[in-house]
Structure formats: structure tokens, C-alpha cells
């Protein structure tokens, strides 16, 4: 190898690399740098001995510390369960009103409720509880089965048309499909219901439907149409429509009489979690029906 170029200024050899006239000096690495490198090798070997390191045909070398992320996860989960146990005890001993009125308990119930709601309820009621057609909006002040804390908790426990023996249940007949009323009568009743909610309707049809309503609908929906919570009959005079507010939707519901289903959650959730969920729903509905509906009900 030929003699390498020496930089005149510093007297250090250059690497021979040059960029735009700048040459790289071949200064030596400090010796301690080499020691750090050897140190890293030693650390790596120690790591192989202590920690899981080498794959084998069956499994791997476990290392003498027997470190395992899987075991750590199981332990963490147990710790989490223990922690949740404390929260569960807190929720189980307090009443629903106490939970909602105490800022710390309410915050705990909201965080538990949010997580449980997201996993179990959001599929039908929407992530924010805003509902969908056929699935009630849980954020407003209209409640088929009652919007107080106790009523919400009860609905959660027993469900609607579920397998629970005490399930909430109601029956909207399929007047058209089951030939209880003719298509014309269903159309007349549709006009009547539109009128009930304060919208303009065909006066002749409304007149024809008066007797039909009294005979077929008033038993559940009451003569004035404000509904009856005992039988889960919705208020027909408000602006909330589970299956749609336009004439086609109303006609369809009188014809087919759809009845929604909500599962029972008793047995799937602990009483504490059901309480938390009830508080979550109640709070996010702005305090259920604290004002409004109750005043207009008969």
C-alpha cells in the first residue's frame, strides 16, 4: 500500500475521501471507545444468560431470571382485578343517587360505564348513545320505560322482551299484516297520528280514523295519545319517533308493528357494573327525565 496523504496543517493522515475540497482526517478513535464496544459485547452475553434469548427447535432458552412477559401480563391482570374489586365494592354499597351525587363516585361510575357501554350497548344504541332507527336514543329525555335511575337500572337488569322472567314487554299488533285493519284504515290512522303530533293532516281522514283510534289504539297509547309507560306505549304527541316520523314510516309501523328487543344484563354484569352503567346512561341523558316528559304525562 502506498504512503497515505498527510494533511499539512494538522499532520494527520487523511482517509483519501474528498467532498468539495474538504478532506476527511483519519484521526484515531480514543481507546476507551474500544472498551465501550467490548463492554457492550459483555453485556450482551450476560443478557443471554439472564434473559430469554436463543430460539430452539422446541421453545427457547429461558434465561436464569425466568423473565416472561406472559407471566407478567397474568400478574398485571390479577392486580387489575383486585383494583376493580375495590371499585366494585364502592359501587355496590352506595345507592344510585349517592353515586350520582358524589363527584368521585360519579367519575368512577362514568369511566366504568363508558367502557362497558362501548363494548356492549354501542352496537345498537350508537357509540355516543344517540340511538338509531328502531334503537332508542339514550341521550334525550324521552323514555319508553322510564328515565329515572331506578327505572334505567331495572331496564338494564331485565331487558325488553328478553328471556328474563320479569322482562319489560309490550305488544304493538301488526294491524295491516294480520288483517285486523284494511289498508285504507291504516292510511286514515296514519293521518290521525300525524295530527296527534301537531302536524297538518288530511282532515277527512282524521275524522274517519277517530273511531278506529279509540277502538284499536287508545287502550295503550291513551285517548290523547301521550302513551303509557306501564305498558311501554310511546307518546305519539312528541317529536321523538323510534321508527321514523314521516307518513311512510308511521304507516309501516301500524301495518307491521315492529317490537324491539333488548337483552337482559343481569348475570352478565355484576350489580355494581349495572349501577355504574345506569348512572352513565342517566348522566349522559342530562339527568334522565328530571324535567319535561313527566309534566306532560297524564
Amino acid at each position: 500500500m502506498s504512503e497515505r496523504e498527510r494533511d499539512e496543517h494538522s499532520g494527520v493522515e487523511t482517509t483519501g475521501h474528498e467532498w468539495d475540497g474538504l478532506k476527511e482526517l483519519d484521526n484515531p478513535l480514543p481507546r476507551w471507545w474500544l472498551w465501550v464496544f467490548y463492554g457492550c459485547i459483555v453485556v450482551a452475553i450476560v443478557y443471554w444468560v439472564l434473559m430469554p434469548a436463543w430460539p430452539g427447535l422446541k421453545g427457547y432458552t429461558p434465561g436464569i431470571l425466568k423473565q416472561s412477559d406472559r407471566v407478567a401480563v397474568v400478574e398485571d391482570l390479577q392486580a387489575l382485578q383486585a383494583q376493580r374489586g375495590r371499585g366494585e365494592a364502592m359501587l355496590a354499597t352506595a345507592s344510585l343517587q349517592q353515586i350520582e351525587a358524589d363527584p368521585a363516585l360519579q367519575a368512577h361510575a362514568l369511566s366504568v360505564g363508558q367502557s362497558v357501554f362501548g363494548d356492549n350497548c354501542a352496537t345498537c344504541h350508537g357509540a355516543g348513545g344517540g340511538g338509531n332507527r328502531g334503537y332508542p336514543n339514550l341521550r334525550d329525555d324521552v323514555w319508553l320505560w322510564g328515565g329515572s335511575l331506578e327505572e334505567i337500572e331495572h331496564t338494564l337488569r331485565v331487558g325488553v322482551r328478553s328471556e328474563h322472567p320479569d322482562t319489560r314487554t309490550s305488544q304493538m299488533p301488526a294491524f295491516g299484516r294480520d288483517n285486523m285493519l284494511t289498508a285504507g284504515q291504516v292510511s286514515d290512522l296514519t293521518e290521525y297520528v300525524v295530527r296527534l303530533s301537531g302536524r297538518p293532516a288530511d282532515a277527512a281522514a282524521v275524522g274517519r280514523a277517530q273511531q278506529l283510534y279509540a277502538d284499536n289504539c287508545a287502550a295503550c297509547h291513551t285517548p290523547t295519545g301521550v302513551g303509557d309507560r306501564l305498558v311501554g306505549a310511546p307518546d305519539l304527541t312528541d317529536r321523538e319517533w323510534l321508527y321514523g316520523s314521516d307518513r311512510d314510516s308511521i304507516r309501516g309501523q301500524i301495518h307491521n308493528g315492529r317490537n324491539g328487543v333488548m337483552p337482559t344484563w343481569e348475570g352478565r354484569f355484576s350489580p355494581g357494573v349495572i349501577k355504574a352503567l345506569a348512572v352513565y346512561v342517566h348522566v349522559n341523558a342530562g339527568g334522565g327525565e328530571a324535567s319535561g316528559v313527566a309534566a306532560t304525562a297524564p
Binding site: E8, H9, S10, G11, V12, E13, D26, N27, P28, L29, P30, R31, W32, W33, L34, E100, A101, D102, P103, Q106, A107, L110, G126, A127, G128, G129, G130, N137, R139, D140, D141, V142, D235, D238, R239, E240, H282, V283, N284, G286, G287, G288, A290, G292, V293, T296
Partner: protein, 495 residues
């Protein structure tokens, strides 16, 4: 590894005496891939700058060791330590100031201020930080002091290192390392007091119940102190620290630096007592500036990367100049421009106000004012309103519209705050919070020193004339403090 920033001389054509450091470098020229550290035996020197360095060393170490033990009374269960980085509680305490993690921008501002201050000082007076205040310098000084206690001064140390192993050498070396490790442990041990209550930690540390982070941090700091201050010393500055490489951008020929006044010193050479000083420089080539240098360089080579501007060579040279009866200040804090002017027979002029220093000073003032403004306008209550987005708006049975919000109220104070909340901007709006009494204004009690999350709902009659949303605001009052949080009331498509 030598970057010479000396523009006053063309070294390639330089004739004349080769400095000792240059000779040493010549000897060390690469013969292999790796270069062993050349041991440096700095000689003890007396004088003005050494004295300042001793004083600063004591002051710096005192600040470091005493600070965690200063008590500061805070209410309740809050820590009574004046300066504390409380990771468990998520707070930083500094006397009357308490910072939350989300206020980390104050720390950022402080770091920016420090950096700008460092830039300004460096462009004016060179690397004062490196020479006097940097922990690496302070601790290295301390370690050299300990070394001198056991092994004597420069010559004794060199003899001891060259001598074969003996009982004398063994106990001196063992003693030195033992005290070094002790000092290192003291350093690491003091560090952890900044993160936990000091009186409590000093007890739990010894009975083994302190947090693992305390032991690990203490061990790491002990190790790095022992290695950096005892063994690596100038290597840390030369190889590890980025600052020597950056500082070249702050310095110019008007910056005060430790300077060998070659206009006065050259041509250098040994001087006998009776000889005349005519026709020669004041430098008698006694090499004292080199032997006292903790970085092992020769300042007569000009400003260089390794030089930390500690001024010890100034003291050494002054001592020699007094002995030979020449004026002090052959090596002094001076500027390149002044030396160059003198060498041409002109009167040197110092310019402290230069565009560079002006820019740094302006930037420093601006950031400083911003910090002061930020601190002066810190509120006890920090309120954020998060509007529900799913659903954005809810229609109620009577056609009115309701929006939900989560109010996050951070109470930075140490007392429970009574907060009044009003909602403005939407006609006929009512504000309620489930689980709380419906009053107007909505009144809440907010716990001290934490964030309280409150669900509130605003109900307003449907407005046929408003498209989409309406700007609105929460007005928050607590005592004399009043603030508005801007938000919107969403009508959605529900009209």
C-alpha cells in the same frame, strides 16, 4: 483531534520553536487504529483565577447539596420540600412555584433562556461556563484535589505512576479511589433527594424501602461521577460534549478568551538572569502554562477546541512573569482582534456591542419577557370545555335542543374553590349538571390541586333562523378570578 481556530498565523509556514504539546502530539500520531489517553498531571497553581475557581467550586457544590434540604411550608399532605420533582404526584415544586406536567413549557422556556444566556456570555467572554460552572469541570477539580491529597502534586504523581508497585503506591492509590468512590456516591446520593422528600428518603434509603428508581439513579450517578470525574476528565469535554463544537459559532475575534499575547511573547526562548530583554519576547518557554492545564494543551497554540477557558495558565504565567520581573498578563483574557491590533502597533479596541451580542441579548430579553408575562398571567383555575361530538346535539320531546359538555376544571391552588358557571351566547339556554343541584349560576366546589371533570348540559329552544351552530361561551367565576371559555352551541340538523 485538533481544530485550531487561530487565523492570525499561518502555521504551515511557521518556523520557530515547536510547542511541547505539539511534540507530544507528534509522538502520539496514529500508529494504530486506537489512541490511548495521554495521562495529564495538572500542577497546582495559585492566583486570582484559581481562587475564583475554588470559591465557585464551594458555592456550586453547596447549592447542589443543600437545595433539597430547604423546607417550604405547603398546606395539607403536599410535600414541604422547596425544590422537588415529584413524579408520583406529577408536580414540580420550586419554592412558591408549583408546575403541573401540562405546564412543561415553562421548563422549555427556562431551557431556552439558559441556552440564550450561554450564547450571549460565550460570545462576550468565551467559555466561562466550561471553565467555571460546568459540573464536569467542578467535579474534575474536586477529584484532582482529592488525588493531590493522596499522591502529591504533578511531579510526585508522575513519579508515583512510573514507580513499581509498592505498599506506598498501593495505599495511596487505594485511598484515592476509595475517597473518589465516596465522593461519587455522595453525588449520586444527593441527586435522588431532588425527586423524593429528602428527610424521608435518607431514612428509607438505608433500610432498603426506598423506591427502586432511587437506588438505580444513585448507582448510575455514582458510576458516571467516578468514571467521568476520576478517569475520563478532559476526554468528556473533547469527545463527548457537543458544546466545544458548537461554541465556535458563537465566538468571533471580539470575544474575550484566554489568550496568549504572542505579540508580546514571541520570539520565545529561555532567558538567563543577566540577559537583556531587547529583541526577544517575554515568553521564556518555561512550560508552566502547559503543566497546569487540566486539558493538557498549550495555550500558545491559540484558541482551540480543547481549551475550557479556566484561566489557570493565566495564573501560572503571571507567577513566572513576576519572578522574571516582566509585567503580568502575557496570557490573559483578551480578544484575538486586540492581539492582532497590538502586533501591528495599533491601539486595541474592544467591542462588546456587536450584531451577534445584540441579537442574543434581544432574543434573551424577548424570551425572558414572555416567561414573566406567562407567569404573571397564570390563573389559579384552568378551564377547558370539551363539547360532546357524538351526538353533537340531542332533540328533546318538546323540540328543544340539548348539547353536552365535559368541563375540565384544573384548580392549581391549594384551597377548595367555589366556582360559578354561566353559559352565554344562546338565548333561552339553561345549564344543568346531573347529580348536582340546578342553580343559576351553576355552583360547584372544585377540589384543590387536581383536575375536576364535570358533565354539564345546555338546553335551548330550537331556533329556526340559526344554521348549524352558534358561538357560545362558559363564564367561570371564582372569587375575583373571571374567565371565559369559548365554545359553540350545535343545533345540528334537528331544527
Amino acid at each position: 483531534m485538533t481544530i485550531i481556530i487561530d487565523r492570525s498565523r499561518d502555521r504551515s509556514n511557521a518556523t520557530g520553536p515547536v510547542s511541547v504539546a505539539e511534540k507530544q502530539r507528534e509522538k502520539d500520531r496514529p500508529k494504530g487504529l486506537y489512541k490511548a489517553r495521554v495521562p495529564i498531571y495538572p500542577k497546582l497553581v495559585h492566583g486570582q483565577w484559581r481562587w475564583i475557581k475554588w470559591v465557585l467550586l464551594i458555592v456550586m457544590l453547596a447549592i447542589y447539596y443543600i437545595t433539597p434540604w430547604i423546607r417550604w411550608d405547603r398546606p395539607g399532605a403536599l410535600p414541604d420540600q422547596a425544590v422537588l420533582v415529584d413524579f408520583d404526584g406529577g408536580r414540580f415544586y420550586f419554592f412558591m412555584i408549583q408546575l403541573w406536567p401540562q405546564e412543561v413549557y415553562f421548563i422549555t422556556g427556562l431551557l431556552v433562556l439558559s441556552a440564550l444566556g450561554l450564547f450571549l456570555v460565550t460570545s462576550l467572554f468565551g467559555r466561562l461556563w466550561c471553565g467555571y460552572a460546568c459540573p464536569q469541570t467542578v467535579w474534575t477539580d474536586l477529584y484532582i484535589y482529592i488525588e493531590r491529597m493522596f499522591e502529591g502534586d504533578r511531579n510526585a504523581r508522575m513519579r508515583l505512576d512510573a514507580a513499581p508497585m509498592s505498599f506506598n503506591k498501593l495505599w495511596r492509590k487505594a485511598g484515592k479511589h476509595a475517597v473518589w468512590i465516596g465522593a461519587a456516591f455522595g453525588t449520586g446520593g444527593a441527586w435522588i433527594f431532588y425527586f423524593h422528600d429528602a428527610p424521608d428518603l435518607i431514612r428509607t434509603f438505608w433500610v432498603g424501602t426506598a423506591p427502586m428508581t432511587a437506588y438505580v439513579s444513585c448507582a448510575i450517578l455514582t458510576f458516571t461521577t467516578y468514571v467521568f470525574a476520576g478517569h475520563m476528565r478532559e476526554q468528556v469535554c473533547t469527545y463527548m460534549c457537543p458544546w466545544p463544537r458548537i461554541q465556535g459559532a458563537m465566538l468571533d475575534d471580539q470575544s474575550f478568551q484566554v489568550t496568549y499575547r504572542y505579540d508580546r511573547g514571541e520570539p520565545r526562548g529561555p532567558h538567563k538572569k543577566a540577559e537583556s530583554w531587547e529583541g526577544r519576547g517575554d515568553c521564556i518557554d518555561c512550560n508552566q502554562c502547559v503543566v497546569v492545564c487540566p486539558m493538557g494543551i498549550d495555550i500558545r497554540d491559540g484558541a482551540q477546541l480543547e481549551c475550557i477557558n479556566c484561566g489557570l495558565c493565566i495564573d501560572a504565567c503571571n507567577e513566572v512573569m513576576e519572578k522574571v520581573g516582566r509585567p503580568r498578563g502575557l496570557i490573559a483574557y483578551d480578544t484575538d482582534a486586540a492581539v492582532a491590533a497590538r502586533s501591528c502597533g495599533q491601539k486595541p479596541q474592544h467591542r462588546l456591542v456587536r450584531p451577534r451580542t445584540l441579537y442574543y441579548a434581544i432574543a434573551l430579553t424577548v424570551v425572558g419577557c414572555l416567561m414573566i408575562w406567562g407567569f404573571a398571567n397564570r390563573k389559579t383555575l384552568d378551564v377547558h370545555a370539551l363539547r360532546d361530538r357524538n351526538p353533537a346535539a340531542v332533540r328533546l320531546h318538546d323540540g328543544s335542543v340539548r348539547n353536552g359538555y365535559t368541563l375540565k376544571i384544573a384548580n392549581h391552588g391549594f384551597d377548595t374553590a367555589t366556582v360559578e358557571i354561566r353559559y352565554g351566547g344562546v338565548p333561552g339556554a339553561t345549564l344543568t349538571s346531573p347529580g348536582r343541584e340546578a342553580t343559576d349560576p351553576l355552583t360547584l366546589r372544585v377540589d384543590p390541586n387536581r383536575v375536576t371533570s364535570v358533565r354539564v348540559f345546555v338546553t335551548a329552544p330550537a331556533a329556526e333562523d340559526v344554521d348549524g351552530s352558534r358561538p357560545a361561551s362558559f363564564e367561570i367565576r371564582s372569587g375575583d378570578e373571571r374567565q371565559a371559555v369559548r365554545t359553540a352551541f350545535e343545533y345540528g340538523d334537528l331544527r
